[in-house]
């Protein structure tokens, strides 16, 4: 086992983002992107201190039920309705190293595909015992876990008959602000994944597959909850092998 106590905090610049792997800004099949995508090229900028640093969040801010969506909004003694699942995985960087002590936030619709949000008008019912938000901080191995109900698919006004596949939104902090990432997790075997214009904004099929969590029989709790495993990869940091730079950065 690698001795973490002997390792210096990493301060190197981050790997450049592979923007052919991510969805581009302009993806007309996802209609809202048409007016919300920049038309000018991005200005490439080598990492300065403003980019390689980032906020940290203490474990103390996490409440006891923050990673239990079945109970964190439920009335005492009650629980959310739906398929009980555990979602877990590790946050790694592109070098395969654990990313410990980072905040992971997640949100989702209820079992019927209904979000608890005032702008949501879908006729599926609200679950009085389900809020839909959770958060946790990764442990020393970069691992995280939460308990929830499997969200339902829901229709959205894009194409005439577009439905989002079941998904959970994730927001992840790394150690540098340029690692900041929001993404969505999908469920293994869902036929709707391949029909979705938001999914298909990603050009590469193997990149889409990186967002699909497999069912994890090994971690399924008998007579209680099935498990899904979703690993998240953040940008890697260059080893500071030979840096020709002056004092101050």
């Amino acid at each position: 086992m690698f001795d973490k106590s002997n390792s210096q905090p990493e301060t190197g610049p981050f790997f450049a983002r592979d923007r052919s792997w991510h969805p581009p800004a302009y993806t007309p099949g996802y209609k809202t992107s048409v007016l919300r995508s920049p038309q000018r090229a991005l200005l490439s900028l080598g990492s300065t201190l403003s980019e390689i640093t980032g906020p940290v969040f203490g474990h103390a801010m996490i409440g006891e039920l923050d990673n239990d969506l079945i109970h964190n909004f439920a009335r005492p003694g009650e629980s959310a309705i739906g398929e009980r699942i555990i979602v877990h995985g590790r946050v790694l960087d592109e070098r395969g190293r654990a990313v410990p002590n980072v905040l992971v936030e997640f949100w989702q619709a209820n079992a019927g595909g209904r979000y608890r949000h005032k702008k949501e008008t879908y006729l599926a019912a609200i679950d009085p015992n389900f809020g839909g938000c959770g958060r946790t901080i990764t442990d020393a191995d970069g691992a995280y876990a939460f308990r929830t109900i499997r969200p339902g698919a829901y229709p959205w006004p894009n194409g005439v008959n577009d439905w989002r596949p079941a998904h959970i939104h994730f927001s992840i902090f790394g150690h540098g602000f340029v690692q900041r990432l929001i993404t969505q997790m999908y469920f293994e075997g869902d036929p709707m994944i391949w029909k979705c214009p938001i999914v298909n904004a990603i050009p590469d099929r193997s990149a889409i597959e990186q967002l699909i969590a497999p069912m994890d029989w090994g971690n399924t709790v008998p007579m209680d909850s099935r498990a899904y495993k979703f690993d998240i990869v953040l940008r890697g940091r260059r080893s500071t092998l030979f840096e020709n730079r002056r004092e101050g950065n």
């Binding site: 905090p9 990493e10 301060t11 790997f15 592979d18 923007r19 991510h22 969805p23 800004a25 993806t27 992107s33 007016l35 919300r36 995508s37 920049p38 038309q39 000018r40 200005l43 900028l45 080598g46 990492s47 300065t48 201190l49 403003s50 980019e51 640093t53 980032g54 940290v56 969040f57 409440g63 039920l65 923050d66 909004f73 960087d93 592109e94 949100w107 989702q108 608890r116 702008k119 949501e120 809020g131 938000c133 958060r135 927001s171 602000f177 900041r180 990432l181 929001i182 993404t183 969505q184 938001i198 904004a201 889409i208 990186q210 990869v233 730079r245 002056r246 004092e247 101050g248 950065n249």
Partner: protein, 204 residues
């Protein structure tokens, strides 16, 4: 056959969607009782050092309409130009200033708002001081990958003129898209996603 480099691919981004508030600012969208308060709403307390400022602004789409469902996050140095981050190696930042904030757009007006402090200067990798700036990250429905930009201050003309990042903007008429308007203590920073006033966004 060469050895494999063994690198993983970064998890691809997806839009934050219209209900991003459920996860990032649940109290703001009336999901109360789960978290005591939304993260990133209070940047300063009475012990924070530095000049108090307010930053407000709106995010506009290509038709000139303000986004009412965007979330903006800011990241900035303290008054002495130090970041409150483990990667900060030049000294210890003000312990009463985390440097990070999160501001949801108002559901009616689209305005975001941060009460913060004016950041000190931070060195560019070659040692030259950058002008005081705040890094912003914007997510919303319709934005497939979060957008990075920077806010600079209108009352720092001399520092802005010598800023190594602003100097890299080839089309000089675009520099002004990164400079807030207003006067201390209230600065206004409007972000235009698309069109003739399009804000400069960075690949960093």
């Amino acid at each position: 056959m060469a050895q494999s480099l063994g690198y993983l691919k970064e998890t691809p981004s997806q839009t934050a969607g219209p209900y991003v508030h459920i996860g990032l600012t649940p109290n703001f969208c009336d999901i109360t009782g789960v978290y005591p308060q939304d993260l990133g709403t209070a940047l300063v307390n009475e012990r924070t050092q530095g000049e108090r400022i307010v930053i407000t602004g709106r995010v506009f789409d290509g038709a000139g309409a303000p986004l009412k469902d965007a979330v903006v996050e800011i990241w900035q140095a303290d008054a002495a130009g130090l970041y409150n981050s483990p990667s900060e190696t030049r000294g210890s930042a003000d312990p009463h200033f985390a440097g990070w904030g999160r501001g949801p757009a108002d559901a009616v007006t689209g305005e975001f708002r941060f009460e913060t402090i004016k950041p000190g200067r931070v060195p560019y990798p070659d040692g030259r001081p950058m002008a005081p700036h705040v890094t912003l990250w914007i997510v919303a429905r319709g934005i497939n990958i979060g957008l990075h930009t920077r806010l600079y201050f209108p009352d720092e003309a001399q520092a802005n003129a010598a800023d190594p990042v602003l100097a890299r903007i080839e089309h000089r008429d675009r520099v002004s898209t990164l400079i807030a308007t207003g006067t201390a203590p209230h600065y206004v920073f409007d972000i235009h996603l698309q069109g003739p006033q399009e804000t400069v966004f960075f690949d960093i």
